[in-house]
């Protein structure tokens, strides 16, 4: 883009062409300032890692790798392990995506491709509204409506139908993995719709028209020509939803039951990393207890990095195949 005033109206060369004279060029200033902002992102991430690493020192030294495999959460003996929390975090996030991906992507396809513009705009506004609701509100709604619904109707029905499998065995409380997964699904749903819809809208018209010209029906054009083209954006929306699900604290704490154990049953109560930190950090009385909670935070941080890294690899792998175009 030529024609920027600052570039064309370059001042006469100064006597000493040093740093400051170079700064007079607007491009340089903009470059430096924005670089600084971008570097902040890296700096914050590194600082978080450093602080978590340093503050979890006692727990890392005492438990080492066994922290990841131990199911103990013993306050009296000061013996801590992360496995029930890792399990709960991954399971609830997985359940959330299981529900919200088909619903969210489906809704995005409708809003971007099929709905009349008026309806699409109104609904998109509502979706953005949903994304802005604080998580504690979702938690309260879950306690007062979702949990009774699960306890009185959904859980007993699941137990009656599939009670012979370990997935739906045990007593029915209403709170538990399934309730947490369901509330997370509701919370990730607007993110997935919003970002997927943008991705679908970015698909060039020609893509759709070409499919229609070849005799495809409207749905065939959408499903076979438009959606694959927007695959990257849709995957991005899913990982954004996943990131929210992994770190969500309040709403999950309110409905998961907060018991540090591993159970195959989705109806059973459990715990997540973010919930246990929220519950116990304020009253972590001994140093090793506190350090173990910070170690858990480090585990969550690493978990997020690993999952996001895997997502990147997945995206790179699929783009290389060129399947999208």
């Amino acid at each position: 883009m030529p024609g920027l005033a600052a570039v064309t109206a370059r001042p006469a060369p100064a006597a000493k062409p040093g740093f400051f004279s170079r700064l007079k060029s607007g491009d340089q200033v903009a470059y430096l300032i924005t670089l600084l902002f971008a570097a902040l992102v890296l700096l914050i991430a590194v600082l978080i890692f450093y602080v978590l690493w340093q503050q979890s020192d006692l727990a890392r030294q005492k438990f080492g790798f066994s922290f990841f495999t131990s199911t103990q959460w013993d306050h009296n003996g000061d013996n801590y392990g992360a496995l029930p929390f890792i399990y709960g975090t991954l399971l609830t996030s997985f359940l959330a995506l299981l529900f919200s991906v088909p619903l969210g992507v489906g809704a995005a396809i409708f809003l971007a491709e099929l709905a009349p513009p008026k309806i699409s705009n109104a609904l998109t506004f509502m979706v953005e509204l949903l994304a802005a609701v604080p998580s504690v509100i979702y938690g309260l709604l879950a306690i007062f409506t979702l949990v009774p619904l699960l306890r009185n109707y959904v859980d007993p029905a699941l137990k009656a139908a599939f009670g012979f499998t370990p997935l739906f065995s045990g007593p029915v409380y209403g709170v538990g993995y399934l309730a947490a997964g369901a509330v997370l699904a509701i919370m990730t749903f607007p993110f997935i719709i919003s970002v997927s819809r943008e991705a679908l809208l970015d698909v060039p018209r020609e893509q759709r028209e070409a499919a229609l010209a070849l005799g495809a029906t409207r749905w065939e054009a959408t499903w076979q020509a438009v959606v694959p083209y927007a695959k990257l954006g849709i995957m991005g929306s899913i990982f954004l939803g996943l990131a929210r699900a992994l770190g969500e604290t309040m709403a999950v704490t309110m409905v998961i039951g907060n018991t540090p154990k591993i159970s195959a049953s989705l109806l059973s109560s459990g715990y997540t990393i973010a919930s246990v930190i929220a519950n116990e950090f304020a009253e972590a009385s001994s140093d090793i207890f506190r350090d173990s909670l910070i170690f858990l935070a480090l585990v969550l941080f690493l978990l997020t990095i690993v999952i996001n890294g895997a997502a990147r690899l997945l995206i790179i792998a699929t783009t290389k195949k060129g399947s999208s175009t």
């Binding site: 959460w73 306690i143 007062f144 007593p171 209403g174 018991t259 519950n279 116990e280 009253e283 009385s285």
Partner: protein
Amino acid sequence: MKRPEFLGLALAASLFATAALAAPRIIAAGASFPYPIYSKWFSEFKSEKGVEINYQSIGSGGGISLLTAGNVDFGASDRPLTDAEMGKMKSKPVIFATVLGAIVPIYNLAGVKQDLKFTGDALAGIYLGKITKWNDAALKAANPGVNLPNSDIVVVHRSDGSGTSFVFTDYLSKVSPEWKSKVGSNQSPNWPVEGMAAKGNEGVAGLVKQQPGSIGYVELNYAVQNKMAYGLMKNAAGKFLKADLPSVTAAGATAKTVPASITNAAAPDAYPISSFTYLLIPSKIDDAAKRTAITDFLKWMLVKGQSYNEGLDYAKLPPSIVASEQKLIADIH
């Protein structure tokens, strides 16, 4: 009354210090259970004496750590300090009981209209997972004539570390040797029973309200203010009592000094799951203006402050404790 002179405050950390302040500004933090009465006290004290005390309700553990780190002028805690915590303090704190609270059992049994009676043994049995049905013999024996259902008991407890859990397990440890050896008293106990946990009094109350057949425990003033039904407890003298403020003060009167555990107190009209909550005041306060302000507050709290307690559903300190604490103020230098 002597008004503390304005001194150049060494409040480097405080962003709030304003030049026009006529008195030292005091920062305190700790227990959330007494927060409503403390904020009432601090606002009354400010309007009477002009001294502002800023209290952060962040939990007992947080109050203890901030006091240890020297970030607050005094702390507040629902439980006495452990030896390890005491050892880390730069200046050994003087401990003042301020108000009393109690813990009551709440439950959700649709068919039962009467208030249920619990013995310590039965409550320990339920929380140990040994009593699993509402029509267990131990519960039936304490509640003759009540039609207890043959349904499972769902146990609800706190998920956050809490002074409430500490007092509750302290009581169970006194009435049940098995509880004492298996679990003991702890602000975040290792609950031996399969159940559900929720954050705060409101979380436990919410779960119990929702879950048929459940039992939980909350602070008395929380139950009173939310008009919840709660059970009677059998005290050490063998009497079933429904917790109220006089019965909690009666339990406090059994203590000779503070801090003291007053669960399962021996007095005939003492409610058994009662406890003090405390202020932790450093024994050495270098800033003279702050020292005067804090000791003034303590004197005020022990006399006039106590008159606000019952309006906010906190039990008053018994006169014996007030007298002994008035002498304790002299230990602050």
